[in-house]
Structure formats: structure tokens, C-alpha cells
């Protein structure tokens, strides 16, 4: 749920970054969003430990407040920045190819967002590859990690920064809210099918690719929002998996009549 909270809460950071840099390309946008992401984690933590607000309420209050501030900022600066409410909500992949990265020599290198996405992919895979053991330990048994001397707090903070960075780089393409779906739905679906961490990660990546391609195709067919359709496909896959997984045990192992007891 922290991913959800962060993806909503980075909005004011993005808006301020837009405003400061005057364009969507600025490094300021990413820095602003990253800072807000970390700030969100800190506020939630502070509310939970110091102010003794229960966890779900502290998440709920923090992200709604930051999201509200973000929307207000967009409305205040509406005439100064090229950012509107719709873009925040569902992004628009379809317009991104227009936004080309042109070198100083005037040579077109293709859509800018592609490079951002590649950079993000490299960073995230590198992060997971390098810190695989540490991440596994802190996610499964944080106290054990602390006992054997891992900086669990720092690793958590790094993970949350990774989440905020991913959110920001996907923001233009899919919007602030649907990022959550892409963050949560593939792993949740994969989790229904496997119990092993490595196969969980592989399955999640596969699902992510499938959802993106199928969503894009369907959106092309019915002419709707690409991001929305991607999430809808993800949802169908997720709910279908849940349904299959909940029925199958009954078909395979469920017995209506008790078997005969062993005879001597």
C-alpha cells in the first residue's frame, strides 16, 4: 500500500519540479518527486510511531493531503505550466512519440520517454541484482536483518526511493493513479501462482510485458486510453487467476464422499 501512497503523494513534487524547471524534461521534476516520495515515507512513519495514529489511517491521511496539495498547485499554476488534471490522472502514451529527443546536431534519437524507461529499467534491475540478498532479508524478516547488522532502515528508504523514481518516470505515460496498478497487480497475480521468489520476479516481468502489449492492442481496437486499458487487462488477468486458484483445489483434491478407511 505504500506504493499506492507514494504514487499519489509525489504529485506536488512533480508540479513544483515542472514549475521550477519550466519543462517536463528537467531533472528538477525527478528530484522533486523523489524528495516527496521520501517525505511521504517519513510522514507515514512519524504518524505511526510518534503520533500513534494507526497505520492505515496514517497512510490514508498523508497521501490524500499531498495529492490534494498537488491538485491545488496545478490549478494555481495552470497558466504557467503545461500540465493539467487529465494528464495527472491517466497520462497519455499516445502523445509521447511526438516528444522526440533531438541531439544538438539535429539528429533525432527517437522518443525521449523510451530512454527514460530504459534508464529506469537498468536502475531497477541493477538495484535488485546488487541488493537481492539484503532486500529479501529485510522484506521477509526485518528484525533478523537488523540483528545480523544490515541497515534495514536505509534499505527500506532506498526501496521507497526506487518506487518514487519509477512512479515519476512512468508518470507521463500512465498517470499518477494507474502507476499503482502496474506496481501492484503483476506481482499480486504472480504471487497467486508461485511461492518461490526468483520465479515470482520472472513471472511478474512476463506479466508486465503481456499486460502492456495486450492493453495497447485492445486500446487500439476500441480507441480508448492506453494506460486504462493496460490496467483493465491486468485486472482481468488478476481476477481470472484468483478465480482459477480458488476453484482448482476443489476440483483436484476435494472429495464429496470420504474415502474408505484402510482395512486391516
Amino acid at each position: 500500500m505504500t506504493g499506492d501512497a507514494i504514487s499519489h503523494a509525489v504529485l506536488p513534487g512533480i508540479v513544483i519540479g515542472f514549475f521550477v524547471s519550466g519543462s517536463q524534461r528537467g531533472l528538477e521534476v525527478i528530484i522533486g518527486a523523489g524528495l516527496l516520495g521520501i517525505l511521504t515515507t517519513l510522514i507515514i512513519n512519524w504518524l505511526k510511531t510518534k503520533a500513534k495514529v494507526q497505520l492505515d489511517a496514517s497512510i490514508g491521511i498523508t497521501f490524500t493531503l499531498l495529492f490534494a496539495i498537488g491538485i491545488i498547485l496545478i490549478n494555481m499554476l495552470a497558466y504557467k505550466v503545461d500540465l493539467d488534471q487529465e494528464c495527472v490522472l491517466y497520462g497519455e502514451i499516445a502523445y509521447l512519440p511526438i516528444d522526440l529527443w533531438i541531439t544538438d546536431a539535429g539528429f533525432s534519437m527517437g522518443p525521449r520517454i523510451t530512454y527514460l524507461a530504459i534508464l529506469n529499467l537498468v536502475l531497477v534491475s541493477g538495484f535488485i541484482f546488487l541488493l537481492y540478498k539484503e532486500l529479501s532479508i529485510t522484506s521477509f524478516d526485518e528484525n533478523f536483518g537488523i540483528v545480523i547488522g544490515l541497515p534495514a532502515g536505509a534499505i527500506n528508504l532506498a526501496l521507497m526511493s526506487m518506487v518514487s523514481y519509477t512512479t515519476v518516470s512512468s508518470f507521463e505515460a500512465v498517470g499518477a493513479i494507474l502507476v499503482v496498478a502496474l506496481l501492484v497487480v503483476p506481482p499480486a497475480t504472480a504471487f497467486l501462482w508461485t511461492k518461490k521468489l526468483t520465479s515470482l520476479i520472472k513471472l511478474t516481468c512476463g506479466l508486465g510485458i503481456f499486460i502492456a502489449l495486450a492493453g495497447y492492442y485492445l486500446a487500439y481496437v476500441v480507441d480508448s486510453s492506453i494506460a486504462g486499458m493496460m490496467v483493465a487487462v491486468g485486472g482481468v488477468v488478476f481476477l481470472g487467476s484468483a478465480l482459477i486458484k480458488s476453484i482448482r483445489p476443489n476440483l483436484l483434491f476435494g472429495t464429496s464422499a470420504p474415502g474408505k478407511p484402510l482395512e486391516i
Binding site: 489511517a57 494507474l178 480507441d223
Partner: protein
């Protein structure tokens, strides 16, 4: 200023409608939200509020216009489906609660966005009003909307008030309710229906994204002010109604501002002020109380160690010994000694400490409580004499005179504690 007067005198009937609407809505959602906050299911409200979007769009598609009845029933149905799926996934998969809620929330919202863009492409001229459901625009509440939204809000408030006992049982101890024969399943169903209704009536004014704040924040903020459920509901309702009015006012004065975010900002201000400054539970007052308690315990420890010195047969007590007894705390100790002198408990003459009569009786009281408690643990709890010290070290600061009298009575005014040390009384010579 003229805006202010114009707004709050309700010269314009439509403003009166809006304000009545937002007050009813605020109180209704605060009531439901407080219960779900107490039930520790605050984020379910978030999931429902995102999940009503596809229903709104479908309702709009079917009606072909912004018809409140179609939209409310569409929103209600998709909210109900989301709630059902959440509890179904919870009982049929091993996914964690937050993963389920985040998935349901984003999947429904994704479907909503798909429908929304389909409507946009269809070029229906009425569709401009549909975007208001996402961020909310209370100013757009019309008289006919008010009858539906306000009526539903009143229904929620009345149901929650009439069945207060049942719903309290649901959130505090559902198993108990079941064991004394209440139909808890049905009560939970009714509660979920009320929760979805609260979200549905809020979407016009607050918008789907931020509706969660109206459910979560009032209850969480009010919880810092009281431990009584009745008062809790009243305070939560008041917070929510007031921020609703202020938020509406702001979006009235600055027309391009949506109402929802402003209501949420004011509500969060109430919440954070409560977290920080509420008496008893706020961060600040807990910090002060802790400081105060630490000061008192240190003072008690000082008096006790001086008493031990005198008990050992010394006539006076050197101030340096006190500093040595509490290493690393020299600053605190110096501060406490100054306090003790100004409270007329000790006097210091050329680095030597002597008790005043008042100080002597206070020191005796602390040592007496300590030793009485040790004896009580030893005699009544059968705890070995070498294990009773730590507990007594804590309780000596908090035992009241009434408890002291009770202990004395129970132990029959003992002379010695388990370590064979004298229990000092005011009449004893020191």
C-alpha cells in the same frame, strides 16, 4: 469581504443548497468513516471511492446525460462489486490486505478511465460535467442533486444513530456479538452498504480520488480528543462539516479551484493540529507529560539516595557523592538539586546536603513505598526477595496514598522489608 458576506448570508439559494449538501455529506461520511477507522479498515474506503468511477461512467453511458439517479445507482453497484471482490479475495487467496486493496482500487480505476475515454471520444456534449466527479465541484450541486445526495446522507446518519449499539459491537468485538446471538453477517452487510453510499454521495462534491480523506481523516483526528464513542462521532462530524464549508467557500471565491482538494487540505489541517496539540494524546502533551514524569522520577531517585546515605549513619551528605551516584546525568542532577532547594526539600551548605523536615518526610515516603511494594510482592505473589527490586523501582513513583494505605493495611503495618531493612515511618527517628 463582500464575497464573504454574500456567501455566508446565503442570499443566493443555490449557495444555501450547496452548503446544506456539503454539511450533510460531511457528517454522513464522517460517521461511517469513524466506524470503519475504529474497525481498522480505513483503506477500504479508499478502494471503494476509486472503484465507483466505472459505475459512474456506465451510468452516464446508459442515461446519455448527467442523471443523478443513474449515476448514483451505477456508482453504488460498482462500489458494491469492489467491496464484494475485496472480501472474496481475502478469504480465497493468500494475498495480503493491502495488496488486495491496492489491486482492486487500481483495476477498477483503470476500467473507469477506459470508459471515460470512450465517452470522451463519443463526443457527447454533456460529458464536460463528468470530469467533475474525479476532483469534485460542490458548486455544481443543484437542487435536484441535493434531494438525492442529502436524502442519502440523512439516511446514513439516521441508520448509524438508530443501530449504534449493533455497529459498535461490529467494530469493537464482532465475535462477542455473534456469541450473544446478533446476526453479525447481516450487520456487516448493512455497514458496507452505508459505506458505499457515503462514498457515492461524496463523489459529486469531493471527487473519487480524495473521497477517502473524508472517510479517514475526521475519525482519526477526533480520536485524539476523546475516548467516548458518542463524542467521537460528534467531533468527527463537526470537523468534517466545518472543513466542507471552508472548502466550498474557497472554491466559490476562486472559481477555477475544485472543491475536493481544499476540503481535504482543511480536514488534514484539523487532523494534524489534533495529532500535535490535542490534550492528553497529542504529540506535544505526551512529550510534556513524559518530561514531567522523568523529572519527578529523577527527583525521587535523588531523595532516595540521600536517604540511603543518612540511613547508613552519616550526618550529612556531600553533593559530589550525588553526582557520582548518577554518572552521565550531571546536568539533570544539578537542575534537580536546584529544584529540590527551591521546593524547600533540602538545604545545601558548603557542598553538604541536609534534609528539611518536609524533605525528610518525602524521602521516607518514597523509600516506604518501595519497600512496602517489595514486601507485598514477596508475601502475596511469592516472588523471591532478590527479584522484587526492579518492579518496586518503577512503582515507587506512581503508588497513590490510597494504595499505600491499602498496602499498609494488608501487610499489617510491617517493620521490615524482604531484605530485612526498616520500612521508614514519619514517626521514626532517622
Amino acid at each position: 469581504m463582500s464575497d464573504f458576506v454574500y456567501f455566508f448570508t446565503f442570499q443566493d439559494a443555490s449557495i444555501a443548497f450547496v452548503v446544506i449538501g456539503i454539511i450533510l455529506l460531511g457528517i454522513g461520511s464522517a460517521y461511517v468513516g469513524t466506524y470503519s477507522f475504529l474497525d481498522k479498515k480505513a483503506l477500504l474506503g479508499d478502494a471503494i471511492s476509486h472503484a465507483v468511477l466505472p459505475g459512474i461512467c456506465l451510468g452516464f453511458m446508459l442515461a446519455g446525460e448527467k442523471n443523478p439517479i443513474y449515476i448514483v445507482s451505477g456508482a453504488f453497484l460498482s462500489g458494491a462489486l469492489a467491496t464484494f471482490l475485496t472480501s472474496w479475495l481475502k478469504s480465497n487467496t493468500r494475498l495480503s490486505d493491502d495488496a488486495i486493496i491496492a489491486s482492486i482500487l487500481s483495476i477498477f480505476f483503470g476500467f473507469g478511465i477506459v470508459f471515460l475515454t470512450v465517452i470522451q471520444k463519443s463526443g457527447n456534449p454533456e460529458m464536460a460535467g463528468l470530469n467533475q466527479f474525479i476532483f469534485g465541484n460542490a458548486i455544481a450541486i443543484l437542487e435536484e442533486d441535493l434531494y438525492i445526495y442529502g436524502g442519502l446522507a440523512i439516511l446514513i446518519i439516521i441508520t448509524l444513530s438508530v443501530f449504534r449499539k449493533e455497529f459498535s459491537m461490529l467494530v469493537f468485538n464482532a465475535d462477542f456479538g455473534k456469541s450473544i446471538g446478533y446476526p453479525m453477517g447481516a450487520i456487516r452487510l448493512v455497514f458496507n452498504v452505508l459505506m458505499i453510499l457515503a462514498v457515492v454521495i461524496g463523489i459529486q462534491a469531493i471527487g473519487v480520488v480524495l473521497m477517502a480523506a473524508l472517510l479517514i481523516a475526521p475519525g482519526a483526528a477526533a480520536r485524539f480528543w476523546t475516548d467516548n464513542l458518542g463524542k467521537l462521532l460528534l467531533i468527527a462530524g463537526a470537523f468534517s462539516a466545518i472543513s466542507g464549508i471552508i472548502g466550498t467557500y474557497v472554491s466559490f471565491v476562486i472559481p477555477q479551484m475544485p472543491t475536493g482538494p481544499w476540503v481535504v487540505v482543511f480536514l488534514s489541517i484539523f487532523a494534524f493540529v489534533s495529532f500535535l496539540f490535542a490534550p492528553k494524546k497529542g504529540v506535544l502533551s505526551r512529550f510534556v507529560a513524559r518530561k514531567h514524569y522523568l523529572k519527578k522520577t529523577h527527583q525521587d531517585h535523588l531523595l532516595k539516595s540521600i536517604f540511603h546515605g543518612l540511613e547508613g549513619g552519616k550526618k550529612t551528605f556531600a553533593i559530589e557523592e550525588i553526582y557520582e551516584a548518577f554518572p552521565y546525568k550531571k546536568k539533570d542532577t544539578r537542575h534537580t538539586i536546584t529544584n529540590l532547594i527551591s521546593d524547600n526539600l533540602i538545604t545545601v551548605d558548603q557542598g553538604l546536603i541536609t534534609f528539611t523536615p518536609k524533605g525528610k518526610s518525602e524521602a521516607k515516603r518514597i523509600v516506604r513505598l518501595h519497600r512496602l511494594w517489595e514486601l507485598y510482592l514477596n508475601e502475596y505473589m511469592n516472588i523471591a526477595p532478590d527479584h522484587v527490586h526492579d518492579s518496586a523501582e518503577k512503582l515507587e513513583h506512581i503508588l497513590t496514598p490510597e494504595l499505600e494505605a491499602l498496602l499498609e493495611n494488608r501487610l499489617n503495618y510491617p517493620k521490615l522489608d524482604p531484605h530485612q531493612e526498616t520500612i521508614p515511618r514519619d514517626t521514626d527517628e532517622l
